[in-house]
């Protein structure tokens, strides 16, 4: 990566396979990326593009079997995550790396109070006393904008609304001052007005806490709003990677271009007909021997069907996995 800052998380050639009764599913194929401290990297892709599985693999959150990480190098702060013993990995998860899941209802335990669930990581990871932990927990709830924080610690998850629950999840993820925060579609289950609140909150927290954030989403609008850099994933691979303004101004990969064209807008000119990407996403039953987007691509030629394009640089900090170059390239 051409960035100046030393990356806090560096992933190269990650490969994850699910071995099922119906054969193998190659969910993640040679994914490489890095995140520097204070940076917000957006990961966009459709369902099944491997974006969640990539992040789950990073932290060893996938059940094995059926999942297996068959290759690649994951370095957190120059430490090899794949070689860590279970104790160190436990300290990493929730301690150094925070995780926010998509659905705040299913990821909070309904039989424990929110306070209990916030205090638990504080006591385990930071070794605080009950009293200290409770004070810190109240601070965290206040930080994520929950009014009357110290009183609400004794409430159960069902007593919070969807947006408030997601705030609680964010507070739990932030509890131990993580260096990296991985957010897996954190606003997808929320309404737009609540999503706007959460995005504002994350922007504010970034400035305050200076951690690296990986933000997984399928919504290009959200990415445009908050990300510094963007990874576009398709069929288990990174097909394009660029700074956010670069990506929206000069998209290179036919998939990224098509994706941007299919989006209807709330302002600007209204198209008579939506452009759609015909066909279906690939099934990932084998290691890709051709470009995964080839069957749906408008610029496909023979080489795409016989060879999987590697990521190549098009300009500083902008790379794409495609043989074809758009006419306005530069």
């Amino acid at each position: 990566m051409p960035d100046g800052a030393e990356p806090i998380l560096d992933v190269s050639d990650l490969k994850t396979i699910f071995r099922t009764r119906d054969g193998e599913v190659h969910a993640v194929n040679n994914v490489s990326f890095s995140v520097a401290p204070g940076e917000l990297v957006g990961v966009v892709g459709e369902s099944g593009s491997g974006k969640s599985v990539t992040m789950m693999s990073l932290m060893g959150l996938l059940p094995s079997p059926p999942a297996e990480i068959v290759g690649g190098d994951i370095r957190f702060d120059n430490e090899d995550v794949r070689k860590m013993n279970p104790t160190r990995l436990r300290a990493l998860r929730g301690g150094d790396i925070g995780f926010i899941f998509q659905d705040p209802m299913t990821s909070l335990n309904p039989v424990f109070t929110v306070g209990y669930q916030l205090i638990e990581p504080l006591r385990i990871h930071l070794g605080l006393s009950k009293k200290q932990a409770r004070i810190r927990a109240a601070e965290l709830l206040a930080l994520v904008g929950i009014p009357d924080a110290s009183k609400r610690l004794s409430d159960y998850p069902h007593q919070f609304s969807g947006g408030m629950r997601q705030r609680v999840m964010i507070a739990i993820a932030l509890a131990c001052d993580p260096k990296v925060l991985i957010a897996d579609e954190p606003t997808t289950a929320l309404d737009v007005t609540i999503q706007a609140q959460i995005l504002e909150l994350i922007k504010g927290l970034r400035q305050k806490l200076g951690m690296a954030i990986i933000w997984i989403t399928h919504d290009l609008g959200v990415v445009a709003e908050i990300a510094d850099r963007v990874l576009v994933m398709y069929g288990g691979q990174v097909v394009e990677h660029a700074l956010v303004k670069d990506l929206f101004a000069r998209p290179q990969h036919p998939y990224t271009r098509a994706l941007l064209e299919t989006l209807p807008r709330v302002d600007g000119a209204r198209e008579e007909r939506l452009r759609s990407i015909e066909g279906q996403p690939p099934n990932l039953s084998a290691h890709p021997s051709s470009c995964p987007f080839a069957p749906r691509c408008g610029h496909v030629h023979d080489r795409c069907r016989s060879e999987n394009p590697a990521r190549r640089m098009v300009s500083a900090g902008h790379d794409v996995a495609c043989f074809w170059s758009p006419p306005n390239a530069g």
Binding site: M164, D191, A196, L263, R273, S276, I277
Partner: protein, 330 residues
């Protein structure tokens, strides 16, 4: 705009759908959830009326009440001049072919133990007496219309992807040549690239069969693409209804303004410039709506009168309706 004298297909007046809350050993009624509270609008023949709002605002309930999937508490729903609210039993069943519904979750609304052919033929079996050949021909015709391969008629829903399943649901809704279809978030569960395919299909079918849609969605940009007129719902009431372009370019109600400004813009440069109205707090419970205007608890422009008197539903010219005290001043 529409022709000089657009024909009204569905006319809704003062529609109320209240659900009783029963509690305790004796199941006494302790309150009501006013899911839809005094809603009035017309749907013209051949148009698409978009109904937008956040989750829990009653938009789905409104759609279902109009189709008589619920027994509305009060109000009039006229389909081609006939009030369908008091109609029950066999006579209601005779009306059903004219009005159909496309559901949100294509996974849940298809019986997993029926083949695609029998799912699409089910309405035919229920309402018509067709010979075997006629039935098979009609199923083939419908599968062609929605872009499904005829050879797949003997397969089961799980063998299809989300977008294809939604096509099955659409084919079933079309089986009896309906005039009016309520689309309840038909694309919410689909990926962006597949959404565009389904939306284009809905538009093609509308043109081909002269359908009238009530398109319920929380996706404001997609509604802008599809709808001719748009109604915005908040907490059981319609707060604004206007022709599409008027609503998106000059929203009158503060809630519509906030809702539109909360939509993330897929353009990083615009996202920086955009001034956003961030709504505070959450939607109040429909079991206990605030006094006066329903939106008064979150409105940035709230006045004293808003907390006491409910604003009137008024015509502001050119078919632009809104209910807000602010608009009375000017």
């Amino acid at each position: 705009m529409l022709d000089e004298a657009p024909k009204i297909l569905v006319s809704v007046r003062g529609l109320k759908m209240h659900f009783a809350i029963h509690k305790g050993l004796l199941r006494r009624q302790v309150g009501t959830v006013k899911a839809v509270d005094d809603v009035s609008f017309d749907i013209y023949e051949g148009e698409t009326l978009g109904l937008v709002g956040e989750s829990g605002c009653g938009k789905s309930t409104a759609g279902r009440s109009i189709l008589r999937l619920y027994d509305p508490t009060d109000g009039v729903v006229e389909l081609e001049g006939q009030d369908i609210v008091p109609v029950t039993g066999e006579r209601l069943r005779d009306l059903r072919p004219a009005m159909q519904m496309i559901f949100q979750d294509p996974q849940a609304c298809l019986n997993p133990r029926m083949t695609v052919g029998s799912i699409i033929a089910e309405p035919l079996d229920e309402h018509l007496k067709l010979s075997r050949t006629e039935r098979r021909n009609r199923v083939n015709e419908l599968m062609d219309a929605v872009g499904l391969n005829r050879d797949f008629a003997n397969r089961y829903p799980h063998e299809f992807s989300g977008g294809q399943r939604q096509r099955i649901g659409i084919a079933r809704a079309l089986a009896l040549n309906p005039k009016f279809i309520v689309c309840d978030e038909p694309i919410a569960a689909l990926d962006v690239s597949i959404q565009a395919q389904v939306v284009n299909l809905l538009e093609d079918l509308q043109r081909k069969f002269g359908l009238t849609y009530l398109f319920i969605s929380h996706d404001l940009s997609m509604v802008r693409h599809l709808a001719t007129r748009v109604a915005v719902m908040y907490l059981g009431k319609i707060v604004e209804l206007a022709p599409r372009d008027a609503l998106y370019s000059a929203p009158m109600h503060p809630y519509t303004q906030a809702l539109l400004s909360a939509v993330p813009d897929p353009d990083p440069n615009a996202a920086e410039r955009k001034e956003r109205i961030i709504l505070e707090g959450d939607v109040p419970s429909p079991a206990n709506p605030p006094e006066g205007c329903n939106f008064c608890t979150r409105c940035a422009q709230v006045m004293d009168i808003c907390r006491k008197i409910e604003p009137e539903w008024r015509d502001h010219g050119n078919g632009h309706y809104a209910a807000c005290h602010r608009l009375g001043e000017a």
